[in-house]
């Protein structure tokens, strides 16, 4: 039986904490109702009859795609152009402890 799950304000606050986001009371309510609707939409999947079907973990029928252990130095300075904050060659990130 498909189960209806609605998202509570407490769920939203926990998700925001996990994602390191600060949400106002108003935003909490906005996301709560939006995420509830998304879950509701996905609950249609629960209606499908999967009786006796093996679980699928990957949709592409491919196996054992490997590469040889051969190193190749990428021009790292190109990659370092992307992060917005740097200090020397270090990339600066928000402190999360």
């Amino acid at each position: 039986m498909p189960q209806k799950k609605s998202i509570t304000a407490k769920d939203i606050r926990h998700l925001a904490w996990l994602a390191k986001l600060d949400l106002s009371k108003k935003e909490e309510e906005t996301f709560r109702s939006q995420l509830s609707k998304i879950l509701e939409y996905f609950s249609k999947i629960d209606e499908a009859n999967t009786e006796g079907l093996p679980p699928t973990f990957h949709v592409v029928e491919q196996y054992n795609i490997f590469r040889e252990d051969e190193p190749c130095q990428f021009p790292s300075d190109l990659v370092l152009q992307n992060p917005p904050k740097k200090k020397g060659r270090f990339i600066k990130a928000a402190r999360i402890v």
Binding site: H14, W17, L18, A19, K20, P55, F57, H58, V59, V60, Q62, Y63, N64, I65, F66, R67, E68, D69, E70, P71, C72, Q73, F74, S76, V79, L80, N82, K85, K87, G88, R89, F90, I91, K92, A93, A94, R95, I96, V97
Partner: protein, 482 residues
């Protein structure tokens, strides 16, 4: 304080240090000592449109480890995304494997037998990527931001999780030592490299709950961290305070564990099968091929040392607990065939001198043929056991030949009866009280012999000195009695 039953389990992370490229991209692995963010590419930095591809050799190495630990390898396995927001992963998730619902780790079960005979069961073995290194400017508590170096990020890690079968910090250390030796014998790991083996531990005391300790950086730290935790928990228990089920952090500098107050739960990681990497199907042929090529492992090597070479079990245990030491022993054996004498020198004076010089077996300058020469000089009674220690120390530090050290330091054994008799006479004259004691007390004879050894800086033949001392005492005795 009553000793309580302790249960310890370990979660060990070992880098596959013999690989030349990272786990899912071609970035080189030689990051140690390199400037920050040198070994990075769009794949390991998680840029849009890139795809990870599994390093075949990493899979092979992990399978070798699973076989060596008697683990049950899954014929069907795949990777899992572990989602979390922390800058040590550029993608906001770690490509790992998962032992829960919907996951399929590389291998389950298995065991390791410790040198003390205890069997530690393995729960699971899996492959995953190493996170980046974070640096905080100033103190971790006050730094406004973290500086991230992604060089290490994406290096292949094998995670080995044990059952809580160890009952003391010492056993945890023995486990890591044995594991290190096995991995080094497999040729997939070099434990000498900084940060190559790290672990988390879980520990519970009788009457308490399970506490996890994160951030243990080496096999040397594991014993310290666990000792601290046992003391902390028994203090709480003895005062009737309940122990919190929590995750703590080992602060290496302050040598204490600190509560992490994490609010994350297992389901917050939202594990799901990694869509960018197709699953792996392992065939019998592939597994048999890896099995056939497995090198000799420590337990088998120990048996060879004992049964074929005639080394004592205790010495063999010490030798095979460090692959480099066992290799060195076998090289020396080519130049000197008394295996037991050789092994005793290596596990005894040799290791002791290494330790006091703060050197590793990999740094020694001395060659196997020089060790053989030293043993032959001892056999030929050219120098005393005491002088041999001095010579050995010099050999290890400089790589100089034993003969030239003996020459230079004038360490030849003194076995001239005339010369030693003269010295004994001097000692008797200088220590009349000790001579009197020696007539009635065996122990005072040691003192007199010791004085002669001291005058010769350990070079005198101790057996001969004792003989002369006893002869001389024998000549005094009748006078006294009479």
């Amino acid at each position: 304080m009553a000793v309580k039953t302790v249960k310890i389990g370990l979660e060990v992370h070992c880098q596959l240090t013999s690989l030349k490229s990272k786990l899912f991209c071609s970035c080189p692995t030689d990051y140690r000592g390199k400037p920050p963010n040198t070994n990075i590419c769009p794949v390991c930095m998680g840029e849009p449109g890139t795809l990870p591809v599994l390093n075949k050799e990493a899979l092979r190495s992990a399978i070798m480890i699973a076989l060596a630990l008697h683990s049950d390898i899954s014929r069907f396995t795949y990777f899992t995304r572990k989602n979390y927001f922390y800058p040590d992963m550029a993608k906001n998730f770690q490509i790992s494997q998962y032992d829960g619902v919907g996951g399929a780790p590389l291998a389950k079960g298995g065991y390791v037998v410790l040198n003390n005979g205890k069997t530690v069961r393995i729960r699971r073995i899996q492959l995953e990527e190493d996170p980046a290194r974070l640096i905080y400017e100033g103190s971790i508590d006050t730094a406004p931001s973290a500086l991230v170096d992604y060089n290490r990020h994406g290096i292949a890690l094998v995670e080995i999780v044990t059952e809580p079968d160890m009952s003391s910090p010492e056993e945890a250390r023995l486990f890591l030592q044995k594991l290190r030796s096995i991995l080094e014998h497999l040729g997939v790991f070099d434990g000498e490299l900084e940060g190559a083996m790290r672990c988390d531990a879980n520990i519970s005391l009788e009457g308490g709950v399970r506490v996890e300790i994160k951030n243990i950086s080496s096999y040397k730290e594991v014993e310290r961290a666990l000792m601290f935790e046992i003391t902390r928990q028994s203090n709480l228990l003895s005062r009737g305070i309940k122990i919190a089920r929590e995750t703590r952090f080992w602060d290496e500098r302050r040598r204490i564990t600190v509560s992490l107050r994490t609010k994350e739960t297992e389901e917050d990681y939202r594990y799901f099968p990694e869509p960018d990497l197709p699953p792996i199907v392992l065939t019998d042929e592939f597994l048999d091929d890896v099995k056939r090529k497995l090198p000799m492992l420590p337990d088998e090597r120990r048996r060879v040392f004992v049964e074929k070479y005639g080394v004592s079990e205790q010495n063999a245990d010490v030798l095979v607990s460090d692959k480099a030491l066992a290799d060195f022993f076998e090289k020396c054996l080519k130049h000197y065939d008394k295996a037991q004498e050789l092994s005793s020198l290596l596990v005894g004076d040799f290791l002791a001198q290494l330790h006091s010089l703060n050197m590793s077996i990999r740094d020694v300058k001395v060659s196997p043929s020089q060790i053989a020469k030293l043993l032959k000089l001892l056999d030929d009674k050219v120098l005393t056991g005491l002088s041999a220690k001095t010579v050995l120390r010099e050999m290890i530090a400089t790589g100089e030949d034993p003969e030239s050290i003996i020459q230079k330091k004038e360490l030849h054994r003194i076995s001239s009866r005339d010369m030693l008799t003269e010295l004994v006479d001097q000692v008797f004259t200088m220590n009349p009280k000790a001579v009197e004691d020696a007539l009635v007390n065996e122990k005072a004879i040691h003192f007199l012999v010791g004085q002669v050894m001291r005058m010769t800086r350990g070079k005198a033949d101790p057996t001969l000195v004792r003989e002369i001392v006893e002869e001389k005492l024998g000549k005094i005795e009748p006078n006294r009695v009479g």
